[in-house]
């Protein structure tokens, strides 16, 4: 503690350099903290994407196989199921495009609203959809892509069914996470019947909303159990795992984040080590004189190491504070509009704070170690001779 004044005075000796180094360390620690919020933030993003109480039921054999539509009604009867809607791949190609460029499904119009209470529809969209059998609800991304407006009529030529459907867009899903188009199941069913087919008896996926999250597990096994001995046994998944299958590459992304974090950390060690060794070299005369006066190896080593550590820890604390401030600001921005929502998912947790501070302490110790050791171990006469 006696040496505190000396350590502080030495840090203030080259204010600009201390400031630059502190700035570099602070910025790097800020970056590392932000990077460290990402894996957790992405996780939260996925769980937001999939409501915790929604499960998907599909044929155990795979997503391309179907289930009888009657199974949807059975599921709907189960205790704890608030709503269920079947979605069946229509495979419609827009006008003359000839191939499917966006997912489109036939859904039970009267049930989508209650399965997706968390989706933001344009006002009256769901009611219009129920009322008009040729209605369609379209995700905003597709609307933009094709320049459609609510009220537009479009033709979808199915690549799966012998049916070309003229539909009228009655509403939009104002959510970029829902890049699909829904048509009315009744419309397709009646069209097929009119064409002399037996009607649409199947369901592709059944989306089920459960009343409470803790019931999800039990209901999934109940549903799968119910279909086990039928011709099409099912497999249920929570929406979260269903979606993260799509985001399968996310794991690799997290690995990249971790590698970048490690590289940034290494980078600040070099920056700080450079400063520490410059500080020692610049002061070799004084250090020699202090050693001559009788300051022992431990005192020299300790004060130099303390100097490097103090600088980097102080800078690291600033960086952590910056990361907290930045994520707070992002959270505020996130409330401004639904598209900005995902920005609010990144939080500097206590773990991240601890890691950021530990990193800066470690950087200080590591960077100060070599120069401090060198200065402490150099024999005093050699040190003096270099100076005089």
């Amino acid at each position: 503690m006696k040496y505190a004044g000396l350590v502080l005075a030495n840090l203030g000796r080259n204010k600009l350099r201390s400031l630059f180094t502190a700035g570099a360390i602070a910025l790097a620690v800020l970056l590392v903290c932000l990077l460290m919020t990402m894996p957790a933030g992405l996780d939260r993003l996925i769980s937001d994407l999939g409501s915790n109480t929604r499960i998907s039921v599909h044929n155990k054999a795979g997503l391309v196989y179907s289930m009888p539509q009657s199974f949807t009604r059975k599921v709907r009867q189960l205790d704890g199921v608030l709503a269920a809607v079947s979605m069946t791949w229509f495979g419609g190609a827009y006008e003359e495009e000839g191939r499917v460029t966006f997912p489109n499904f036939a859904v039970e119009a009267e049930h989508v609203g209650s399965v997706y209470p968390d989706y933001v529809f344009t006002p009256g969209a769901v009611d219009e959809f129920v009322r008009h059998r040729d209605g369609a609800i379209v995700g905003r991304k597709i609307m933009r892509q094709y320049g459609w407006k609510v009220g537009d009529r479009i033709t979808l030529r199915s690549t799966v069914w012998p049916a070309n459907l003229d539909v009228r867009i009655v509403g939009e899903i104002a959510d970029d996470n829902a890049p699909m188009l829904w048509i009315n199941r009744t419309y397709l069913d009646e069209t097929l019947k009119a064409a002399g087919r037996g009607g649409l008896g199947i369901a592709g996926i059944i989306w089920v909303r459960v009343d409470r999250p803790e019931r999800v597990g039990a209901l999934m096994s109940e549903i799968d159990e119910m279909s086990r001995n039928s011709e099409s046994p099912t497999a249920s998944e929570t929406e979260k795992s269903f979606i993260s299958n799509f985001f399968g590459s996310l794991k690799g992304f997290v690995t990249i984040i971790l590698i970048v974090t490690a590289l940034v950390s290494l980078c600040i060690v070099f920056i700080a080590a450079n400063t520490a060794s410059m500080a020692v070299r610049e002061r070799s005369g004084e250090i020699a004189v202090m050693k001559a006066m009788g300051f022992g190896r431990r005192a020299i080593f300790g004060t130099l190491l303390a100097e490097a550590t103090l600088l980097s820890t102080f800078a690291g604390a600033l960086g952590v504070a910056g990361a907290i401030a930045l994520t707070r600001a992002l959270k505020t921005v996130a409330t401004l509009g639904p598209t900005l929502g995902p920005l609010g998912n990144f939080t500097v947790t206590n773990d991240v704070v601890t890691a950021g501070l530990a990193l800066s302490l470690f950087v200080g110790l590591l960077s100060g170690l070599v120069p401090a050791l060198g200065a402490a171990r150099k024999p005093v006469v050699d040190a003096l001779r270099e100076v005089f």
Binding site: K2, Y3, G5, L6, A9, N10, G12, R13, G285, E286, A288, V289, M290, K291, A292, M293, G294, F295, G296, R297, R298, A299, V380, V381, L384, V387, F388
Partner: protein, 277 residues
């Protein structure tokens, strides 16, 4: 210059261990520094440099002595051995009854802190500390509290006549003033021995004389033993004794007298007063 008289310098600093050795009643025989057959060799590639060759000498306490000689003659080497900064290749250095060879690196550092005050040619003050904190620096090695450290630093600065510059940083002081701060730093622990390597080497004539006068007064008023390495012929007027070195050898008898005479002649009027007895 230095308002030494009238200032009571504290003789009771905790660092000042009473010196073992002969009682002060017999100062003629007393020996503070005993250099016994000391050699110092350096390896430089394949050849060996004999910086010092079998040098023996004694210095009594309370004396102001100078090591003189041409460049490369081994003056600094000898001074480093006396002050425990370096170890001899052969021979023994005994200061105040302590054989320095018996101390390990850390013990030697602690010994220097307690017994030696150092003054260098290029002052080597710490630029970010003011005069008071620079002087108080060696006291960090004691248990003294901050207030007491400051009080003693102020006393030492008063001894060198700089108590009106307490808060000045080195870069706001003249060369002479900086050297006086360095001298205050060397005496603040009240050491038995002060060693100075070319203390006037970087000073103009006026400040050089003032510095030499100040060192002289430290022996006269406080009984400090001072060993000074110098090229400065003016020093002859201030010191009690001169040891002449040449090519690592200590000159004795007529050789030493001739060396002193040569310096006096070279200095012209400067050294007219001659060395003290």
């Amino acid at each position: 210059m230095a308002p030494l008289r009238g200032v009571r310098y504290p003789r009771c600093m905790p660092l000042a261990d009473p010196l073992p050795g002969p009682p002060p009643s017999a100062p003629e025989e007393a020996t503070l520094i005993d250099i016994r057959h000391v050699s110092r060799h350096y390896r430089r590639g394949v050849d060996e440099v004999h910086a010092l060759d079998d040098v023996s000498l004694r210095i009594a306490p309370g004396r102001f002595v100078a090591f003189m000689g041409p460049s490369g003659s081994g003056k600094s080497t000898l001074m480093n051995l006396v002050s425990g900064l370096d170890r001899p290749s052969e021979g023994e250095v005994v200061v105040a009854g302590q054989s320095l060879g018996d101390l390990d690196e850390d013990e030697l550092a602690a010994w220097r802190a307690r017994h030696v005050g150092l003054i260098f040619q290029f002052f080597n003050l710490i630029p970010v500390l003011d005069a008071r904190d620079n002087v108080a620096l060696p006291l960090l090695l004691t248990d003294l509290g901050k207030a007491e450290r400051h009080r003693r630093a102020e006393t030492a600065l008063r001894v060198v006549g700089l108590d009106h510059r307490l808060d000045h940083r080195p870069n706001t002081l003249s060369g002479g003033e900086q050297q006086r701060v360095a001298i205050a730093r060397a005496i603040v622990t009240d050491p038995d021995l002060i060693v100075a390597d070319e203390p006037t080497g970087d000073l103009d004539a006026k400040n050089a004389e003032a510095t030499l006068g100040l060192l002289r007064e430290l022996t006269d008023a406080f009984g400090k033993t001072i060993v000074m390495v110098t090229h400065d012929p003016r020093a002859l007027r201030f010191v009690d004794e001169v040891f002449h070195l040449d090519k690592g050898l200590l000159l004795e008898g007529s050789d030493a007298e001739r060396a002193s005479e040569a310096i006096r002649l070279a200095a012209g009027g400067h050294a007219s007063a001659g060395a003290r007895p």
